[in-house]
Amino acid sequence: MIPFPLSLEPMFGKLIAYLIFLAIGFLFGFVLESAGFNHSPTLAAQFYFKDLRVFKVFFTAIVVAMLLIFGASAIGLLDYNLIWVNPTYLWSGIVGGLIMGVGFILGGFCPGTSLVALATFKIDGIFFVLGGLFGVFAFSEVVDKITYFYNGSYFGRVTLMDIFDLPVGVIVILVTLMAIFMLWGGEKLEQKFGDKAPEPKARYIGAGVFVLLAVVIAILGQPTTEDRWEMLAPEKQPLLEQRTYQIAPPELLHTMHEHKLNLVMIDVRDEADYNIFHLLDAEHIPLDEVSDHIHDFIAMPPNTVFVVMSNDETAATEAWKIMTAESVPNVYILDGGINNWLTFYGTPYEEDFCAGEKETAADEELRYDFTIALGAGCPAAFPDPEKFEYEFEPKIQLELKRAPSSGGCG
């Protein structure tokens, strides 16, 4: 299993978790102050090309954090699937960003830097924070009037890799080169418009190290689903063979009626079989599309249980491996698949539309020969639990959720 990020609160309790967040905030504030972010004329000077200190700190930080994050991910230390990547809301992001830009040049701070200015008694910073508190209040009062705008143009977890359809390594190299180019250009502008002392020569070495790291990250590549399964296989394969994750049809039926769990049933068969018969509320996601939904799955609430199903078990087990390898928690397989389900819960209603069982059915073939497509419009799609009494050995247990469910400014 990829060890980081940690699941702080379940692992250490709330107090320790909150102290860790406090400590991270402390370091953040300490560095912001040390770098000069409590001095508003410096923050504003970047917009007149006179002193690009803030611009330099900012883009250097992005490159350093990016290289470390994707470096750690490349060597299997950090799970990129489990870190919070801001979802994209296009238009509210653009308009909000422009408003922030106006606030930036007028106020001379941004929220983080204003807190540091307040902490060091800068009176202009204190006024900025007061205005900031009022702005937050104002937004909470008007947001109901602009919900369509605020929530529209939602694209989910979209990364630059998705936009440009390039591998992570290439994007990392391009961002690094772009940042170095911008910093270089920034220094030129600074020399033209301001009177800053030149930066130390060591920065050339730094830039070289950045590019080198970016290239190494590109060569290493990010772990694929197969790589991730390889890492998990020693632990999970024996459990899979002991049938730890295969839940019997009665347990699934029981779970359908367990309202404290958020049950997500995923039917990975082809469309034809799905149309002939599927469980009520089972989502149709063909096996080769399962990978596209990983981030949606991870973002679901911590009480979510996924049950994947196919006609038998081969395809469902494949889907289970993909999802488990990609760090989706609480994934189970329907024991014996839909064929087994129908054996358990088929009723005279379905029999009317069934020409019988096939003598020889291949693996992953629907064993029952339906004469019409029933979809979920029959009793077996949502059996009445009072009509069937089966004992089962409960197997579902909730794992600790590791992925954060909200971001930095949530």
Partner: protein, 189 residues
């Protein structure tokens, strides 16, 4: 660095702490590397990036919940933070924002930069600076709530994790500021 007489030593220690000449800020690139490392540590351990405006909005929701709980329970945006028996401050981002204030204070104190002063452009009065700072802060956090994050939560954190939307927000922030800079140059130059 003058020596003081014993009877007023205590007071003068305090005074000296706050009126020392401020040390210069660290080199920008060094600051960037340190900030990047802090951001990485945050993602590495917690899975979350850094943020500031989220904490502010929860402070406000907390106060609103004290003053007008009924109102909070009617506004969907506030309900999610402070509705019912939710405590708006019971959230990790509040810890981060509070830590920012503490960390900034300690760094300012150690380096002799924690002092009451108004920093501004040479051609405006303190009062103008304060009023404009207030409006700037108001607009900034309003925009930050709309964009679901500020320079820390969107541009910096989302930038480093290569979120497409965050890069858009980043360019919008800098675009907005650069576009307006010329027209308000009197404020800063």
């Amino acid at each position: 660095m003058s020596t003081t007489t014993p009877p007023i030593k205590k007071e003068s220690t305090l005074k000296r702490l706050f009126s020392r000449p401020g040390k210069p800020y660290i080199n920008s690139y060094l600051g960037g590397v340190l900030l990047g490392i802090v951001l990485f540590i945050s993602y590495f351990i917690t899975g979350n990036g850094l943020g500031a405006s989220g904490g502010l909005s929860r402070y406000v929701a907390f106060v609103e919940d004290l003053v007008a709980p009924d109102h909070v329970n009617r506004v969907p945006y506030l309900i999610s933070m402070a509705g019912g028996d939710l405590n708006a401050l019971d959230n990790w981002i509040v810890m981060v924002s509070t830590g920012v204030i503490l960390g900034g204070f300690v760094s300012g104190l150690i380096n002799g930069r924690a002092k009451f002063e108004t920093n501004k452009g040479p051609n405006i009065s303190n009062r103008t600076r304060w009023i404009v700072a207030f409006f700037g802060g108001m607009l900034f956090t309003f925009g930050a709530r709309m964009a679901r994050g500020c320079t820390s939560g969107q541009a910096l954190s989302g930038g480093a994790t290569l979120s497409a939307g965050s890069w858009v927000v980043m360019f919008a922030i800098f675009g907005g500021a650069y576009a307006l800079a010329y027209f308000v140059r009197k404020l800063w130059n």
